[in-house]
Subunit: 196 residues, 2 copies
Amino acid sequence: MGEPRPERADARRNRLRVLEAAERLFTERGVKNVSLDAIAAEAGVGKGTVFRRFGDRAGLAVALLDEREQELQAKIISGPPPLGPGAPPVVRVLAFLDAYLDLLDRHVALFMDSENASDGARYRIGSYHLWHRHLSHLIEATRPELDADYTAHVLLAPLAADLHNALREQGYNLTRMKAGLQATATSLLSGVHKDR
Amino acid sequence: MGEPRPERADARRNRLRVLEAAERLFTERGVKNVSLDAIAAEAGVGKGTVFRRFGDRAGLAVALLDEREQELQAKIISGPPPLGPGAPPVVRVLAFLDAYLDLLDRHVALFMDSENASDGARYRIGSYHLWHRHLSHLIEATRPELDADYTAHVLLAPLAADLHNALREQGYNLTRMKAGLQATATSLLSGVHKDR
DNA sequence: TCATAAGACGGACTGTAGTCCGCTAAAGAC
DNA sequence: GTCTTTAGCGGACTACAGTCCGTCTTATGA
């Protein structure tokens, strides 16, 4: 690995400008109605700058979500139970699903962008890996006879932004989704029927 | 509902030409490397024609998948068990997941296109609804205390093409995915641990 | 067979994502 | 302060998705 040279002053300035401009335009006009040209213009930089730094539309969305996701990551790694360490695995899984759904619901449009990369960006970015590792460990601890790695992907799959959005559009509310997901996760992890 | 006028001769001719051209180019160059201009040219029709008929890229992919999906649909509706009626619900669910994964694996690129619509095309198209209704009924029959509608979506989520593709790329093989999915579905539906 | 209307055709046009590369400015050495 | 290196800059450029609308084809029925 090479030395990670410090970020140059102009680079930092422009990075912040772009993020700020993107956030402003996204909330003003809605994520879908903002072109990267517009963001570049609003930020007062050239389009090339936006692309060099963020790669593509998805990369920009990821960067904007980063802060929010890091909050959740921190709570999981070192926060209080049930999200953080200390609670029983199943409880932690349920807490995570709940918290993630909240996050997702607040930023659906942005998540959709971040997952809509030409090719599965979602599964390459850091936070997905963290969520996956987290669930994988908890599953391993609860049902060691399962393929924890795969099962973690299965548990994350219903958190896809496009599904969430589609369900929203067909009238689902957050409460129902949370309840449904909790029920299936419980069932999956405890392997025991739960009376209603 | 209005009378569904018969398809005009030129329309039919062009529809077939486009589908044929698309299939040829997709297999020749790979789905990602074919533009709709190219398909129109290859089919000897104008670009407008392609779009009028199929709406967008996703629509074309859906049309190409249609035949294959209908095969599976037929087997489910009126074929022999365990896919068709007659087998116990849980068995039918497992059979469906297995068959769908086979289908998906054979046509990942096309499925990715069909699901990559700007906005969740996947959840609007007819076949998704059929799979969903099917699973929903089977779940209802097995675990009536669950929210069958939502749980069906959860079971379908891991069949997303982009996840399948990502797992493939990180070394998963079809057998492992099938086994994992069967295990989670069993666990979810029977609510009973299963020794390996 | 011809008139007519419903509908399809197709290519020019628009807007956007993403690339490229000659130019500029920052940072460190002296 | 000046020189040199190196990263960053930005806008012209390419290619593609998707729209629009004037023109042409088909089906119909008299």
